[in-house]
Amino acid sequence: MPSLLDPKERAAALEAFAGTVSGREKPSRYWKIDVEAIVPPSNGAAAAGTVSIQRPTPVIACDLHAALRNHAPLLERAFRRAIEPRHKFAHLALAHADLGAFVYVPAGCAADEPIVIRYAAKPGETIFPYTVVLAEAGSRATVVERLEAGAGSFVCGVAEIVTGESADLTYASAQFAPSDASVLFTRAARPGRDARVTWASAELGGKLSLSDLAVNISEPGIDAGITALFFPTGSEHVDVLSNIDHRVGDSTSRTLVKSAASGSGQGRYLGNIRIAANAQHSDASLRDDSLLLSKGAHIDSIPALEIGANDVKAFHGATVGALDEESIFYMTSRGIERAEAERMIALGFFEPAIDRFPTEELRDELRAALKEKVTS
């Protein structure tokens, strides 16, 4: 059977994993976990984890092994074409790439039903799910990635999107992992000219979750979107990174991050927008808001705009705070109990981000999970 990577490449990726120091903050009063020191509890047996895929008919979607057998030239055009590892866990996932899914959206194909990819890790299992999406010119599709992570499981994965001209691809992921699981994902997209690519990612579980979302804009006319929401409760840690790299001009990017923390939940968001010197007429916005719902909760929000061109629009806005007392008073003055008012305001806070997720079913699931977190 053909293999995704030869042993040399796998060894090189493992070496890169061990050798990459991403300069992450060391444990401190506010950040209690050493991301650099994390190693999977096991290397992952070759057969660890399962993937199941649900797809509308014109779309090809299969596991990576079937893709290698039946669609190798297509897979070749997207596999390792979008990802530019900034983080060591991208190397780790690559080194173990085996379990995974390949989605191919033919030219001009508009898929109304989402393509749903489900990864499952049994309790205590270590899995390395790897999703590759190739969307041809003028196609439109939505991918929803779901994760069923067992207790104490360790999930380290990658998703890559490559599109042709004027494609429109939305990729949503939401994880509600148990509070002793670790979930680390690296997701990168390389849209074609005039294409639209949207990441929507929700981290609502896991003792440690890491989500690294990137769009590399190397063609003009691209509309890139990143939406992330996270909510560490209890003693959970969430680390979210977003990176939009405007390498050429005449493109638009919208980043929206909404987070809350309660208990002694810890969260960190690092948001990067880079506009290269020749990327004139870029239009980038980054908005991140954090809500602290307890004294022990902590969220660091570190946006960074690196702007090399002079004829661009770049917006950044950030807030961190507790629930607004005037808003609470307003709602209670209408007879709504304080606890319910707090719940409504906190859920409402996430709504603009939830709105950007596909399918009413997923949005309702997010609302239900957030409600539970707000109430707990």
């Binding site: 607004d324 007392e325 005037e326 808003s327 008073f329 307003y330 709602m331 209670t332 003055s333 209408r334 007879g335 709504i336 109990e337 304080r338 319910e340 008012a341 409504m344 305001i345 859920l347 409402g348 806070f349 996430f350 709504e351 603009p352």
Partner: protein, 256 residues
């Protein structure tokens, strides 16, 4: 019953250590309209917030009862459920909370279980019509991105669907054009004409007498420097318009 009404006695209130209300006596009877007029900074809004229980407003003396119930002992939500409503001058914007969801939650809190969601929606659309509000309001987040006039209309809509026992309108007319002030008047009229609002008592706080052309006051009070210095009939509002607050201030010897 002797204790019917929104009854305020000897009310004193401080904000951050400064005494704003220096002993207020006022009683709004069911079904009646009282106007509370006064210059800026006289303490009108402070009275509204101290009655509704804003945490920053510290009542230091006096009492306030609603149909005999001690308001001051209650948390803000319980005051609303007792039947008190305040139309805010500057209502909070709450992104992510849809207008109809909020209105339904408020209605259910104050008048639990009387309406099914479908009947509630019918009521909502009917009351919106009186206010000349477009149904698209129902798709928007609470006061989020609303103009000043839209916020005031939404306050009136809330009053109309909650149908409180006592409604305080805190300068609901300020910043509104003539048509919008008329719509406020129509909303009050429609509420008073409904079964639910027949006995609603109103305290209309205003700086200008303009709104009183659309909402006829039975009693007019003038507040200056934290005290009610004059109480009279509708004519008092006309006098205020003609002569201004300074004349009344001098006449009553209210302290500057």
């Amino acid at each position: 019953m002797a204790d019917q009404g929104l009854r305020i006695t000897g009310l004193r209130c401080s904000v951050e250590g400064n005494e704003i209300l220096k002993g207020i006596d006022l009683a709004v009877e069911p079904g009646r309209v009282h106007a509370l007029m006064g210059p800026n900074g006289s303490g009108k809004s402070t009275l509204a917030f101290s009655l509704t229980g804003h945490p920053k407003y510290d009542v230091t003396a006096g009492s306030a009862t609603l149909d005999g119930e001690d308001l001051l002992a209650l948390a803000p939500d319980k005051r609303a459920r007792a039947g008190l409503f305040l139309s805010f001058q500057y209502p909070a914007a709450i992104p992510g909370v849809k207008v109809p969801n909020f209105l339904f939650a408020a209605r259910q809190a104050v008048r639990p279980g009387e309406l099914t969601p479908a009947k509630f929606r019918a009521l909502l659309l009917e009351r919106m019509d009186v206010l000349g509000m477009d149904p698209s309001f129902l798709g928007r987040y609470l006061n989020d991105g609303f103009s000043g006039g839209e916020k005031k209309r939404l306050e009136m809509l809330q009053m109309a669907v909650i149908a409180p026992k006592y409604a305080i309108l805190d300068e609901t007319d300020s910043g509104l054009d003539i048509d919008a002030v008329k719509d406020v008047g129509e909303t009050v009229k429609a509420l008073r004409a409904s079964d639910e609002g027949r006995a609603t008592g109103f305290l209309v706080i205003t700086h200008y007498p303009r709104i009183l052309q659309h909402v006829t006051a039975d009693v007019v009070h003038v507040m200056i420097d934290g005290r009610i210095v004059k109480t009279g009939g509708p004519d008092l509002a006309n006098r205020v318009e003609r002569e201004g607050y300074d004349v009344i201030r001098e006449e009553t010897g209210a302290l500057a």
